[in-house]
Amino acid sequence: MLYLLITFIVLLLIVTGQRGLSLLLGLGINIFAIIALLILIADGFNVVVTTAIISVIILVVAIYMNVENSVTANISFKTSLVITALILLITIPILYWSSTQGMGVEDQEELEGFSLSAGVSFPQLAIATIVVNSLGVISETCVAITSGLNEIVMNKPTLDQKTVFADGFSVGNKILATQTNTLLFNFFATTFPLFFLMNSLHYGWQEIVNDKLFGAEVITFVVCTIGVILTVPITAYQVSRIDRKKIIASTKEQ
């Protein structure tokens, strides 16, 4: 693993040059934020509140350290905060209804010897799981759509608000397709061992569709996709409202 780490750092520095250092710093801060999240939850802090606070820190790092244009960064940050809040609002009732927290009967072998009444609220942890899962996808989507739209506005500063808003969807189409793919392929990565196991346990379709782990993966995929979809109108609305001069000025700064 050490060899892999060294290779990664060397390659990163060769390919991205000085930029690589700030990328590494950003990754390092995010990893620390996540470890802090784990420790705080284990110490008994409210899971949802802690996740919300840590998410804000992670989004600040993920957006402001990766984006140089200040207007793009500000809009992306605002949008990603709104989306994270919306994801929380959608996730809580869906998980309440689905009860897909914790682990499944399929995991039982792995859990031998553990004290299972650990005192952490796993229903709340399930909410945190979905929010953390979405953070990377959401921040990347916000940045991609904002910078795409800003470019359009810069090239044609005379466009009216309605056209800019509509252009958001043509920029959004491609991003939505690629992000859906990323989420879907990750769904494949986590579920194929599960399906294999279900087959050896002779599950029928009734057991599969009602299975806890399968349900949790489907809900994660679906909620993150909803987050990506909602990013498009919210970003487009903000870009269409903002003063055009600001966008042009911010690109000239660089």
Partner: protein
């Protein structure tokens, strides 16, 4: 005016259909052979405080569930089931009124809960995506068909896997990965030369990153990586792990190659006499901006997947160091291999595109 009206009709239709499908799956117990109980009300019987050997405080709660059967010959009959759960609900659950449960008879008149009926909530949440897509001006047809085609390919992959008993797992994964990336590229870029170039770049970058990483892992004798911690301890550990890496990095690398290649192709169209060297350099400059966010995407997905097991280790008196070593060493290895792939994609794509791109004759 007519167009606006048509859109509203579409949206209302989508909402109606989704609600109908949700309600229909909620009441589909006739399709099940197992008895299903709909919960009318629950009453808490007792709540005992317990402390485990690691000084974690948890409550063991016993609840009485009053419900009625919704299928089989007993349809309509009242039933009472006792359920005991830990308040942390790792493996067991607190049941709520209006939930439905699949039960089985353990002895005359005694039923135990097998599973919660979750099909309706899944249908509802998938429906929510469809409604949102209909509310906005996306090109829904292409998106939905690509997801469907990919699901069909994945279904075929799982079927083949079951038939071949994971013997050829990695080979199957590679074939599946090629198929789904071809579908993704054709859906987004269309069946063009651009798609072919993007495919070549993604394929090369992923293969080089994987082969190189596997070689590095063997060089270090796989030390410090707990491959046996792969999901459900499925054999062969290493094959399962590599297959998961391939699936999880694929989407991100496709995203990256498409971004770089489309910018370079556009550049070539605007400035016809641009040199290969300048194109390569621009590709590297564009790629630099993409690396960070893409690694972030995978970082959070990997962490989120392991959150439950990490917390369980931590609460069982393990130090943070031991916990991370046991639970995240696989995830971190996966992340490192993926990151190497993401970084390598930048020069590989820039090189391939700068060599292959031609100005289109219009």
């Amino acid at each position: 005016m007519k167009i606006i009206k048509k859109r509203w009709v579409q949206i209302c239709l989508a909402i109606g259909l989704v609600l109908l499908a949700t309600v229909a799956t909620y009441f589909d117990s006739g399709l099940y052979q197992k008895p299903i109980v709909s919960i009318d009300r629950v009453a808490q019987q007792s709540k005992t405080k317990g402390t485990d050997q690691y000084k974690n405080t948890d409550y063991q709660v016993v609840q009485k569930i009053y419900g009625h059967f919704t299928n089989t010959a007993k349809k309509g009959d009242k039933v009472t089931i006792t359920n005991s759960y830990a308040q942390s609900q790792l493996l067991d659950e607190r049941y709520k009124p209006h939930q439905q449960i699949l039960v089985s008879k353990t002895s005359p008149k005694v039923y135990t809960i097998q599973s919660t009926k979750r099909d309706a909530v899944l249908v509802f949440s998938i429906g929510l995506v469809i409604i949102l897509l209909f509310c906005m001006k996306f090109t829904r047809g292409r998106l939905l068909s690509s997801v469907l085609i990919n699901l069909v390919i994945f279904f075929g992959f799982v079927q083949a896997l079951i038939k071949l008993r994971t013997g050829d797992l990695v080979l199957l994964t590679v074939i599946t990965a090629i198929l789904i990336s071809v579908v993704a590229l054709i859906v987004i870029l269309g069946p063009t030369k651009d798609a072919l170039m993007a495919f070549l770049s993604a394929f090369l970058a992923t293969s080089i990153a994987l082969l190189f990483s596997v070689w590095l892992l063997q060089l270090s004798g796989d030390s410090g990586i707990h491959f046996e911690m792969v999901d459900f301890g499925l054999q062969p550990y290493f094959g399962v792990f590599i297959s998961q890496v391939i699936f999880s990095v694929l989407g991100v690398i496709l995203d990256e190659t498409m971004d770089i290649s489309s910018s370079l192709i556009e550049m070539k169209q605007e400035v016809a006499d641009i040199s290969k060297k300048t194109l390569f350099k621009s590709g590297m400059a564009i790629g630099k901006e993409l690396v960070g966010p893409l690694i972030n995407i995978l970082l959070f997905i990997v962490v989120a997947e392991n959150l439950n097991v990490v917390m369980l280790y931590l609460m069982n008196g393990n130090s943070i160091g031991y916990t991370l070593d046991m639970t995240l060493s696989l995830g971190v290895t996966q992340l490192l291999i993926s990151s190497i792939g993401i970084v390598l994609t930048v020069p590989i794509t820039s090189f391939i595109i700068s060599q292959m791109v031609r100005k289109k004759v219009s």
